[in-house]
Symmetry: C2
Subunit: 564 residues, 2 copies
């Protein structure tokens, strides 16, 4: 048996995983990782937490759990893998099975043979074509060097105002990190909401939370110019003319797959401009595989190929590639349902599957439900969760779940993700047998409650109205009756103040006379979380009212200013 | 349409849920809840946390989230449901559709008509037939009264030593509550382990944690006598003759379904002596339904009917009953996979599906895997999880997952539970798309890693040995070579000390000469968590060693005393 030569291009997440798996599968293979940057196996998702001071030792980002830095010596000694950092692969010679490499420190070029080549070239940040983008003080957070730079700014404490351009996942993580470092942050997002994996109303609630922490968020108003003096950033100009002074800007408007090497080698790209691979992660060349952010993968629900930039998927894909290059194509990678999460101050925000917007885009006829629920029983010190489910009316399958709030979001998104991958219907979600004890959840987990409310809607036992739709009706001064079903104490403490009538649920049976005489009049019921609102609506319907709706999620999920 | 008369017997969890759901489905129904005890809708799973002082207001156990006590007035006003506490149903007249009730305070008897009757009579504690069981100072934790009694003992601070009889879920929760109150606790379990939803080696790790908190645990040694003076408990006597002084004993050896009312009415019982119901939760009488702990439900994996005493299932079953009694049998209850969890000091312990013991009992040919993994990246302040998976060799389906440790257990058990309900295979677990960000998990969630290791075993890339089997070999002084693949610093800090040789994984390639010459000799590799142990084993196999095993879970999962 001759020694198999495996060359991996890219040393961040997917590449090292593919190399390590190949090593475990074949101890005799000759394995080389070629990495353009200076570091290997960086925990790049950890950069914001290093910048924010959650931990101080930068080497923790490139260490094994026992504290050994993953440098070329470690790779050789512990794994028998040759790792070549600061080395760029400049050309793939597919015919001769060689890659041409260049040592970046010396410009020295050399060739490396391969039997199997793995491309894990990752992404590059998108630089918006905005004047002034080259000014000093403008950075991304894509590399260890960026992380070091931002951490230094944090530690020096000189910068007082900064702007984060882009309100996606990384933008919001950077916002938190710098705001906690005492820098006043403004997030500027060109779209009309942050965090587009969430639907608007949930993103707005997260925005409100971020603002409550002192950071500013500007949406629907892109940066049109970076303003500078002597080559240094002094401020930004927005489309509406506003100028914001700042000495630091972190650009986080997105990334695109790094595919120039693959393109030059004539490998097929997909529609989203990522490297095209089949279910075995094999490119259009049978001896070249790709994994991680540089390639397109399958969407598990639609079957379409798409980009999905997630560190966990990169590792999963790397493992599949490591297996297939050693033992032949035996392992398929099933793809993604776009599960994502981020922590933002005291909240977390997560999504799995389709949100409403993307489900519409994908052509589904959907039902949606939004609820507010506690993550634990009240007596255990519970925190609220605001959750939204999107289901396909036709198949009754759950297409997506979103969750935001101070409660345990990650558990609910994880539960929902597994359910969606298991092709579960709303009915399946209604009867999940989950681990219940008071320190961990309510007797009925918030995700189950979400299923129950969705079932009520699908079976026409409840008609909901979203905060956004109610707000529009209020703006249009629609003729309707608003019923707040809480108690007077609660009403004094917090209320919408939009012309509602307060009738506590316990009094409603005896105070039916205060309701509109016209049984066809539109009535909107709610309470703090809209459980009593739902009970009120059921009662009204039994009294002949024909146009009764429940404000979904109640007051807690109201994203607009309240009277109190 | 005539008014439907619905009578619910039992006012704890399943009964009120059935009543409330029926009310929402039918605002005109005449609904009565008849409850033997004084309270309604008690959060009985919260008793240990009230006893332990997690919260101080007992009414939080019987309140709505907004602080309204769920008393008969609340039920009438807010839900239009008549609730009769301190009232016992003494007889069901199935022919005439009446129940005979007795007010416990006055002995007054009266009849209530029903169209549909719901039995939610719950369980009663098993009292072991041990002499002295009637002494003062012996209690259970089954009712609000018990909770008040134990809370008073906590607050008074007079009792210094107590015994918990039974090391199940409730026993361990009571142990924590009283130990934290400054009472020295001994848990006495007649079986050879606590928490039988776990396999022995995981239960033993939990036991070690409990002991580290100062509580004692005695296994395999049942109580044979409660010792008293003047009618008051003074101590207990164990089977081996040991006497332990104590002034308080909490008996938590289990419960059995309360079925005497159903039996007297001639309703069918199941093999486990719970009320027999079909998939619609309908008993052998078409006008009588049952839900909650009093009835048997279907095991989702085997299809067998069984008891499953869980508060979350009681609520789910109550909801199904509430629907079916109003709209006819439209909703099926799919059953349980026995998902359970409890918090024990700084750890949690959970299980879903089959553990190894019960999988064997059910006749499966299983593969098992045990790993130690971190719940988050090290730089985020991670905590370990010790996890075990049981899979069916034939179908490759995951049959069960157990998890213990200080990390986020509940999330992993929830994920696994949904996967098992989704009929997922080991391969499915290997490629889960879960919500990843450093505050919430490692890039590969611990559950995915568990799947990967299981796949390695199923595909014969790794041979494991359990701590128990290695311990037996050590006791028998088997001839083997033990290889600890960690670094010298780690070895100085913590080690098994069972005759192992330390060769750090990074030195192994150059120190092959120190390994046994006989390539067929049994070699056991490990490290702290056995990842480096696995890499060492792969390397040895590639060098021709034919009998190499990995100690599953590594040193962290070793349940026996260590040298260091």
């Amino acid at each position: 048996m001759s020694t198999k030569k495996i060359v991996v291009v890219g040393g961040s997440a997917a590449g090292p995983k593919a190399a390590a798996k190949a090593r475990r599968m074949d101890q005799n293979a000759d394995i080389t990782i070629i990495q353009k940057g200076p570091d290997l196996s960086m925990a790049s998702c950890g950069y914001p937490y290093f910048v924010g001071g959650v931990f101080d030792e930068r080497n923790k980002l490139i260490c094994t759990p026992t504290g050994v830095v993953r440098d070329p010596l470690f790779y050789m000694k512990a794994k028998g893998i040759r790792a070549l950092p600061l080395t760029e692969v400049v050309e793939i010679n597919r015919k001769e099975h060689k890659v041409k490499c260049k040592r970046l420190e010396t410009d020295e070029e050399f060739l490396v043979d391969y039997d199997k080549l793995v491309l894990a070239t990752g992404t590059e940040p998108i630089k918006p074509p905005v004047p002034g983008i080259e000014l000093e003080g403008i950075t991304t957070l894509q590399s260890m060097r960026d992380a070091d730079y931002l951490r230094k700014i944090r530690d020096e404490g000189q910068v007082k105002k900064a702007v984060v351009v882009g309100g996606g996942l990384i933008g919001m993580e950077v916002c938190e990190a710098l705001q906690l470092a005492g820098i006043h942050i403004t997030v500027v997002e060109m779209l009309d909401q942050i965090l587009t994996f969430l639907d608007w109303e949930l993103a707005k609630l997260v925005e409100n939370h971020v603002k409550s922490k002192g950071a500013m968020i500007v949406t629907g108003n892109p940066v049109t110019e970076f303003l500078g003096e002597d080559g240094k950033l002094m401020g930004i100009k927005l489309k509406n003319g506003t100028e914001l002074p700042c000495n630091l800007a972190v650009v986080a408007v997105g990334v695109k797959p790094s595919t120039s090497l693959a393109e030059r080698a004539g490998l097929e790209l997909g529609e989203r401009r990522g490297i095209r691979v089949d279910e075995y992660m094999q490119t259009s060349d049978k001896d070249i595989y790709a994994c991680g952010d540089c390639c397109e993968i399958r969407h598990r629900i639609t079957g379409e190929r798409m980009s999905a930039f997630y560190g966990d998927l990169a590792n999963l894909e790397g493992r599949v590639v490591g297996k297939n290059i050693v033992e032949g194509n035996k392992t398929k990678f099933p793809g993604t349902i776009h599960t994502g999460i981020c922590k933002i101050f005291d909240w977390a925000a997560g999504s799995t599957g389709f949100n409403e917007y993307f489900a519409h885009e994908a052509g589904y006829d959907v039902e949606t439900t939004l609820i507010t629920a506690l993550d634990k029983p009240g007596f255990m010190g519970a925190n609220p969760l605001i959750m939204k489910m999107v289901a396909d009316k036709k198949s009754q399958k759950v297409l997506g779940v979103q969750c935001v709030g101070p409660g345990d979001v990650s558990k609910r998104i994880a539960e929902a993700a597994v359910g969606i991958m298991g092709n579960m219907t709303v009915e399946d979600f209604c009867n999940l047998d989950l681990p219940y004890a008071p320190p961990f959840s309510q007797a009925l987990d918030a995700l189950i409650t979400l299923g129950h409310v969705m079932e009520n809607k699908l079976q026409s036992r409840m008609q909901g109205i979203s905060a956004k739709d109610l707000k529009e009706k209020l703006n249009k001064k629609d003729d309707m009756f608003l019923l707040d079903a809480r108690g007077p104490d609660e009403y004094e403490e917090m209320r919408l103040g939009v012309g509602e009538t307060l009738i506590p649920i316990g009094k409603l049976r005896e105070r039916m006379g205060e309701l509109p005489e016209d049984k066809s009049k539109e009535i909107i019921c709610y309470c703090k979380i809209s459980l009593r609102g739902y009970e009120a609506a059921s009662l009204l319907e039994s009294h002949g009212y024909t146009n009764v709706k429940v404000l979904e999620g109640g007051i807690v999920a109201w994203p607009y200013p309240r009277e109190k």
